[in-house]
Symmetry: D2
Subunit: 345 residues, 4 copies
């Protein structure tokens, strides 16, 4: 931790800060400049919030030097985390990127879901995604089928062998969702629902954490840290777009650079969601490809057998014909990336 004192800070103020830091187990160096004094506090005391030091009289700013996400960060855990499933599917590291597809919400009619799941299976996708519990900005929008939706997903898994990704919105629902899901998803608006993160630390199944719509990379990794610190190391990160400057042409700004950044500073797998990340059907293909070539461990995108009559987010779903076309090209790109990985590029 670097503490910069105000130009006119007194010796007594400097001493008060250094005493406090030493009491909390830091080793302290003072660097005397012409105008400013800078205190370097050395030691791995993540427990001490910079906000507290910032409250001392005479302190100008406090800069945290060390990564505050010990478990999610790569420094103390250099090798990639690879999440493995019973059917042999793997996510992370240098494994082949995975495809997670399905409708935004599971609909009342199980036939739709099965038609979608069969198309997904046919195109080589590994995961079926679908919301049974839906976080909706407006209370007047469809809120999801809840348990019945989970049953439908389980039935589709049984028939196709696809693994199931679905959202959990509340600590109370964890036992239920945990029964059905292969990956439990935390939605973007819940990225800092700390009670939910903590509770998901106590289960064993992988958790896919979506980045909040205005979260920094650091906040994102600290949210993952909450889950890991409470006992569950199986966290998958999902970039799904942040709020940008445009509402006319896309819903969010998909931050593709988050992929190589997260891969450099964290060992956790990184998935990209070009459907929510853009809100536009025609952007799924170019942004999905961009994510894959930038190093994503997989894509999650929305497909629907009848997007015009979907109960949510039809505008960002591919219909099944478009899905087959786009996925064929994703698979081709994935093949080339694999080829280059093996043969050097």
């Amino acid at each position: 931790m670097i503490v910069v004192m105000e130009p006119n800070a007194t010796d007594a103020q400097v001493e008060k800060v250094t005493k406090y830091l030493e009491k909390h187990g830091f080793r302290v160096n003072i660097n005397y400049g012409d105008i400013l004094k800078v205190i370097a506090a050395i030691g791995d005391k993540r427990i001490l919030s910079p906000q507290i030091i910032a409250s001392f009289e005479g302190v100008k700013t406090v800069k945290q030097i060390q990564e505050p996400y010990k478990l999610a960060g790569r420094t103390a855990h250099p090798e990639d985390t690879i999440i493995k499933f019973n059917n042999g599917v793997k996510i992370g590291g240098k494994e082949k990127p995975v495809l997670m597809v399905g409708p935004c919400s599971v609909e009342k009619d199980i036939k739709s879901l099965l038609e979608i799941a069969n198309a997904a299976k046919e195109m080589g996708c590994e995961f079926l995604r679908g919301g049974a519990f839906k976080p909706r900005t407006s209370p007047y929008d469809f809120q999801g089928l809840e348990e019945r939706g989970l049953e439908f997903l389980a039935e589709a898994r049984k028939q196709t062998g696809l693994l199931v990704v679905t959202e959990v919105m509340d600590t109370m629902d964890i036992p239920l969702v945990n029964q059905y899901a292969d990956i439990l998803q935390v939605g973007a608006r819940n990225m800092q629902n700390f009670k939910l993160l903590k509770a998901l630390g106590h289960i064993k199944k992988p958790v896919m954490l979506k980045r909040g719509p205005a979260a920094s990379i650091k906040e994102f990794l600290l949210a993952a840290e909450h889950i890991m610190y409470n006992g569950n190391p199986n966290v998958i990160l999902c970039e799904r777009g942040i709020k940008g400057y445009d509402n006319d042409f896309s819903r969010n700004t998909l931050d593709i650079a988050a992929v190589p950044i997260l891969r450099k500073y964290s060992h956790l797998p990184v998935i990209v969601d070009p459907s929510h990340g853009t809100g536009r059907r025609y952007l799924i293909e170019p942004m999905g490809k961009a994510a894959l070539i930038a190093g994503a461990h997989g894509l999650m995108y929305e497909i629907h057998n009848d997007p015009d009559n979907a109960s949510s987010d039809g505008a960002q779903s591919l219909d099944l014909n478009m899905f087959r076309d786009v996925t064929k090209r994703f698979n081709k790109l994935i093949g080339r990336i694999d080829y280059d990985n093996k043969n050097g590029i």
Copy 2:
């Protein structure tokens, strides 16, 4: 709802959209322009998400015309909501603005809390605020005393008569917090934790909803709508700063204009938090005054008997001497606003 078709949209595409709208109870007008066709869909069908219409082929954009927050908005509820407490305190409308003060977190030592509460009482504040459950960005930060903190707050209320505002972070904790609090607070990061909002719709006590760090006014009012739609009309809105372009000089950008905007478009009371809204002690006074003069129904700010040793957010807390000075000036301003309201300005 206004549906703008693409320049090259076919008649069949226009018809498909109009049929769908009519099937869902809208009356439809088509406005033929030279280049674009515009469909005006008339009717109060909040249930139909614009996203669904946007998914039809040939649709360029969909613009929602009517306020989607029927209960929180002023159109259908023109008179101000005033929240009344048993001890006669009122929040909202033209009532005298209230002051809510206390430490960020309730600390292990009840003496501190009582010292703070007595100072608050002495300065005429109406509410004691303090976190027993703390949402913390990092799992390594202090997470709150939980039930013991609530007991301390209740003891302080008993001794001073101050009303208690405290945060609830999870649906599971509602019964417990509801026992102790006079106002249950929803934190900014939980503004779109829809399960929590829904569950708070089923209690009777007032809920203070903090605006999310990147929430639009519309998203904020829709979050209030979730609580109201589920049965609880006693919602207080709290502006607490949004993410801006600066991290060096303040933690957030306090959006003072949200006060007159919310007062114009909603009937709910509006509180402002200049402590979280700025993250700097010296900004509490000018920003608190700015909020009051712009029409806030109250302020919430952090005070601590020993900010340098506070377990959280010392940098944005006033010590008790500063608190007395600043609050004296807030009270003076409140008196003038009252005087002007009565005597015309």
Copy 3:
């Protein structure tokens, strides 16, 4: 400057950085932590960009410690800058806040401008503002009367004694605008038009610099520094709203906290523009008051004798009746602030 090396940085890499810093006149301290090495570079070398050090191998991050705006900052210039005009008007320090009013654009008809100027004079305003050169997002919008507009402003000054504030958009126009204006304004979209800033450093008249729509406080002060560094110390800062999360209810987010922040860290006067800052007529009064009570040295707002037929920005202009009402209340508030300053608050 604080240079944090990567955990695995080699001694040779550390040495390369320290050599380079020493060669450029810094005194260097190395602080050895358990994981990271931190180099503190001491010395007032504003000339060395942190970006350059960041490019060395093994460097993790570089944090600039010292304020990079030596002339605009308060550290080396503790007393307030007060701008004085020939007619006795002053802006800055503890002087009475000033009011700058007028139409967004100067219109073709000089009678309108004179009617507006007379109303402004009558209400005690000190400045007439009006655009002769208009920066317009679209080339299809009215671009301003140019020199004829400047002549009209000069005529209004002659008849009323009001001082004139008007925008200069290009280095080529400086000689012309300099002939007519009492204050030359730099628009928000030109805040980082460095050639223009530089050229305005070579004139003597005060320059009012508007904050860019996404500028940080630091970028804003550095823009002022460009003008001052080139020879003109008479810079007035103007907060006019930043891009926020809302387009439905306001055009920009007026950052009122910028006022006390700029007053603490800079000695320059600070004006607030609640017309552009909100884009809504009804917000001018509450936001103007908020700015004044937070310490603004003046307000700039738009008025028009016929806003519905204004050639630009009618939606954020007061008509003359509203102007008189609102300004009466601004003057009352200014009187109270003055009273409190003199009598202690």
Copy 4:
């Protein structure tokens, strides 16, 4: 244009608006809803700013329906613009993507520039970029060699045959830069320097317009419209990153989705700058690839023979070895994209 009236708008208010619209050449339809009245104003009157209608009493909101960028938009100009140079190089449409490389600033030593240019030539790049005039946030940073820098660029062109891209910062410098450059670049902070845009409308050479750090797509296209409206159709758009939520891991958020969005709604070529767009050397490769696969017509990135001693932005420049490696892989990807274009994908 769609004008939504307030729920309580009077018939007289509706009539006043409709009269005004009709007077300005619009055809008007009124759509009566249960609560709101909606006026559809039909006609191609780009000249009438929505802000003016918004100022009428009783108006709630005004929504512009038609694209306000007639020349830059694809509606009235469906075929791609392809910019052609004398040496046969082309940018845009389905042409092979181009590579523009070089140092951020042209340095005092011409040998450096020639070394860089030769490496660029050797790797098959088409353009040499380098700043002779440098927009710098701080006046203490290196401001560029000005004319001498332009001469160096011309010399490098002579020796290598590379075309030259360089920035013009001010209307006064246009004649000079126009003598030397093959493409004149407008920097991101000047994207809304309307006088500069207008003046660049009067030259014939292509202009590369960089997107402002907080510009929406619409503002970006309107800036291009200023150049085109004044007579120069040869505009190249350049995405270079917008301000995001992170300063720790990257300088900007590169908005890759802007590529397919701009290609869909405009006919102009789109270049991406992954150096400024990220501010990190290691991100140039993944983000450059992402841009190419998402449809960019070219990349611009910074290279330097000695980044550690560069006078600006070393941290985002590749050294010549890295440059060769990365460019080899860019060329391979470009070849595959070409192959797929020809053979169908």
